[in-house]
């Protein structure tokens, strides 16, 4: 091949490489940008007075007198709305039956839209669900609810050949001529006086428990559950894995049995995680009965089995990478095999072993399938350290799935879901980052 072609090929390959890296970076951006921006919106957002009420009532945080002032101000703005409602109600009484029927239905829609926006109306009985005792917590949601109040969504079925189209009809037009017609422009104009939006940094999203299955509050039980499960898995898997790796590298004699063990280990690494989940249920809970039903212990054990092969492999590689000369030097000084392992080989292999361990920890934190049947519940409070043997726990990975697929108000609380995703990614990234730093520091210490 002549020089020109070679150079051309080199350039072409460089371009190809850069191109693929660019594609990768783009994909990463496409994934990360919404997660980060929407995830942060769970913590930093424009909150309404309803949010501050909720935080004060449920978590006892906030300045009581300032809050009372705010509530008084918003009540003053709302009073007109409620007055209009009662005026319309008395008007409704005086109407003839046909008209009464026609308006009652529409009026009920207005009332429920108002409840969604401002919380229970005067005269309502105490709602059973916490989510109904407060109006909109978040300003952007309040704006959506305002649209629902102002416009009625209708479906156009006129053309049977196409899918029905939605269109919006102003509600105020429906109340033309009644006293309620004034309500709509009033609410539209005074919505911020009624809800008092304000930029908030809601750190409670990380540290609070959830209220009424994630409608309000934070995700601390999930974060804590994730940490418990991952650390618990490490407590079992790390020592076992390192011991197994030492056996494989230092003690095992090459032979049929040993290669069988190695291939068993590799196979275990390739087993899908849902299989581990079912195995955990069948073995740890139903057979060994480590707990009555789901528990952190059972989940940790299941995760430990799952990450064990990775830890063994990483530790094995790290031990094999220790120069033979260290071993010779130590043995040559009259050290026993065990002493050599403990004082020379393991310290030198430590960076690699720890890296493998922390990466496994991240994996254990992120896995969903193994904990579905063994440890995770969708809603629950944070459990104490003493309860890990008996109690199940909410966990980020499982609750992300749950919020996406099973939660009855999933669409209302997308921000919570994004917040959970961001938290999970942050935890895993932090763990991996700490692995990198730890590795660098220990390697530096070893290199002098």
């Amino acid at each position: 091949m002549n020089l020109g072609t070679r150079k051309l090929l080199d350039r072409a390959f460089t371009a190809l490489g850069l191109g693929s890296i660019a594609v990768m970076a783009m994909m990463l951006l496409v994934v990360l940008v919404p997660i980060v921006s929407k995830g942060f919106s769970a913590i930093v957002f424009k909150s309404t007075v309803e949010h501050r009420k909720m935080v004060f009532n449920e978590f006892h945080r906030g300045n009581r007198s300032a809050l009372e002032k705010e509530i008084a101000a918003s009540d003053a703005a709302r009073r007109n709305v409620y007055d209009m409602l009662s005026r319309f109600e008395s008007e409704l009484m005086l109407m003839n039956e046909d008209k009464q029927q026609e308006y009652t239905e529409k009026y009920d829609q207005v009332k429920s839209a108002l409840r969604g926006l401002l919380g229970p109306l005067p005269g309502d009985s105490e709602p059973a669900l916490t989510r109904l005792t407060y109006g909109q917590n978040r300003w952007e949601k309040a704006e959506e609810k305002l649209q629902e109040l102002l416009y009625e969504k209708k479906w156009d079925y006129s053309n049977p050949d196409v899918v029905a189209k939605e269109y919006f009809v102003s509600r105020s037009a429906g109340f033309e001529g009644t006293s309620l017609a004034r309500l709509f422009p009033y609410v539209e104009k005074n919505i911020d006086r009624m809800l008092l939006p304000e930029w908030t940094f809601y750190w409670g999203f990380i540290t609070d428990s959830s209220v009424d299955s994630h409608i309000f509050g934070g995700i601390w039980p999930e974060i804590q559950g994730t940490l418990f499960l991952a650390i618990g898995a490490m407590l079992f898997a790390f020592p076992l894995g390192v011991i197994a790796a030492i056996y494989f590298t230092e003690y095992a004699r090459e032979g049929f049995f040993n290669s069988l063990l190695r291939s068993a280990n590799s196979t275990l690494a390739g087993v899908p995680s849902i299989v581990f989940g079912l195995f955990g249920l069948a073995f740890f809970i139903n057979t060994l009965k480590v707990s009555e039903s789901k528990s952190v212990l059972a989940g940790s054990l299941t995760l430990a089995i799952m990450i064990l092969p990775t830890i063994i492999r990483a530790a094995e590689e790290a031990i094999l990478a220790v120069p033979k000369t260290y071993r010779e030097a130590s043995l040559g000084l009259g050290s026993t095999k065990w002493n050599t392992i403990v004082t020379v080989i393991l310290p030198a292999a430590l960076p690699g072993i720890l890296t493998g361990g922390v990466i496994s920890l991240g994996r254990a934190a992120g896995e969903t399938a193994p904990i579905i049947f063994t440890a995770a519940v969708s809603v629950g409070s944070a459990i104490g350290l003493a309860d890990v043997f008996t109690s199940p726990t909410p966990a980020l990975s499982w609750n992300i799935y749950n919020l996406a697929s099973e939660h009855e108000a999933a669409a209302e609380i997308r921000h919570v879901q994004y917040g959970m995703v961001l938290s999970l990614i942050s935890i895993v990234l932090l763990l991996n980052l700490s692995a990198v730093i730890l590795r660098a520091r220990i390697s530096k210490k070893l290199k002098g």
């Binding site: 120069p323 033979k324 000369t325 071993r327 010779e328 030097a329 009259g334 030198a348 002098g448």
Partner: protein, 284 residues
């Protein structure tokens, strides 16, 4: 066939006479030495089927420096490593015949190889300090053997470093990582580390082959210093080095100990034509 030098073949008296004849005057003064410290009888080392060292008969005299020379792959390192059983690390290796150290069979079934290696220290081809501080490197051996007292350890470290002629260079940075030293310093540290466990024999496996001439000269000086206090065996590729530092020389060829004689004799009047060809550089 007994291929060890006639001088050591029979008794102390015979070796004495040879010392007087062949050793330069400054090398004669070795007190309490000259008895067989390691003796091989029909000693062979196998790697699987391959016989790497073939039926060697030799006596290594105590407190003298014995050099082992020979072309690559001649079994000289294997023989050296058999003495403190470093060959155990190689799977499938085994030995036949006997190799006695202080009247004990080195490869005996009940020989404690850990105790043996404590008495027979080794310095390797490539400097191999542990990735620890200089102090910890040298204290490693004594700590293994149960010395915990800080004062005692400090004493041992200083003594060993002084013996290895390294104390003046590193006394102010004992807590620094040993891997930060130069190659020559690292190798002298390995000497000091080995000396710290107070061995009786020092096995040196091409200790200067990874070093520059200056560092090599220092190591050779060090070997001169240690001569008379330890039985030293040094494997080397460098014939000048063998003639400079050793009292006796063994020449190996293809696993066979061809000639074993006082160095001055071996390099001036080799008995075997093969030895002559090798030392005159006809093959290497």
């Amino acid at each position: 066939m007994q291929s060890s030098p006639e001088v050591v073949e029979t008794s102390q008296n015979a070796s004495k006479s040879v010392r007087e004849i062949y050793l330069p005057p400054e090398r004669k003064k070795v007190s309490g030495g000259g008895v067989p410290h390691v003796s091989a009888k029909n000693f062979s080392v196998y790697y699987g089927e391959f016989e790497a060292v073939k039926k060697v008969n030799a006596d290594i005299l105590s407190k003298y420096v014995t050099a082992i020379i020979g072309p690559s792959g001649c079994g000289k390192s294997t023989f050296l490593r058999a003495i403190n059983r470093m060959n155990d690390l190689i799977p499938n290796s085994h030995t036949t015949g006997s190799l006695m150290f202080d009247g004990e069979d080195v490869h005996g079934k009940f020989t404690d190889e850990v105790l043996l290696r404590k008495k027979i220290g080794m310095v390797f081809q490539k400097p191999n300090p542990f990735p620890k501080s200089i102090f910890d490197n040298i204290a490693y051996g004594p700590r293994l053997h149960g010395i915990k007292d800080k004062k005692t350890l400090e004493g041992i470290v200083e003594k060993s470093l002084r013996k290895a002629a390294l104390w003046d260079e590193v006394c102010d940075r004992l807590d620094k990582n040993a891997l930060g030293m130069s190659g020559g310093q690292q190798q002298r540290l390995c000497f000091a580390r080995t000396l710290a466990v107070e061995p009786e024999i020092l096995l040196l496996d091409e200790p200067t082959s990874a070093l520059d001439p200056k560092a090599t000269a220092k190591i050779e000086d060090l070997i001169q210093e240690l001569r008379g206090s330890y039985t030293i065996m040094i494997v080397t590729h460098n014939m000048q080095q063998a003639s400079r530092v050793s009292d006796f020389t063994m020449f190996f060829y293809e696993g066979v100990l061809v000639e074993h004689a006082p160095t001055a004799q071996l390099f001036t009047k080799p008995k075997d034509s093969m030895t002559e060809d090798y030392i005159t550089g006809r093959f290497s």
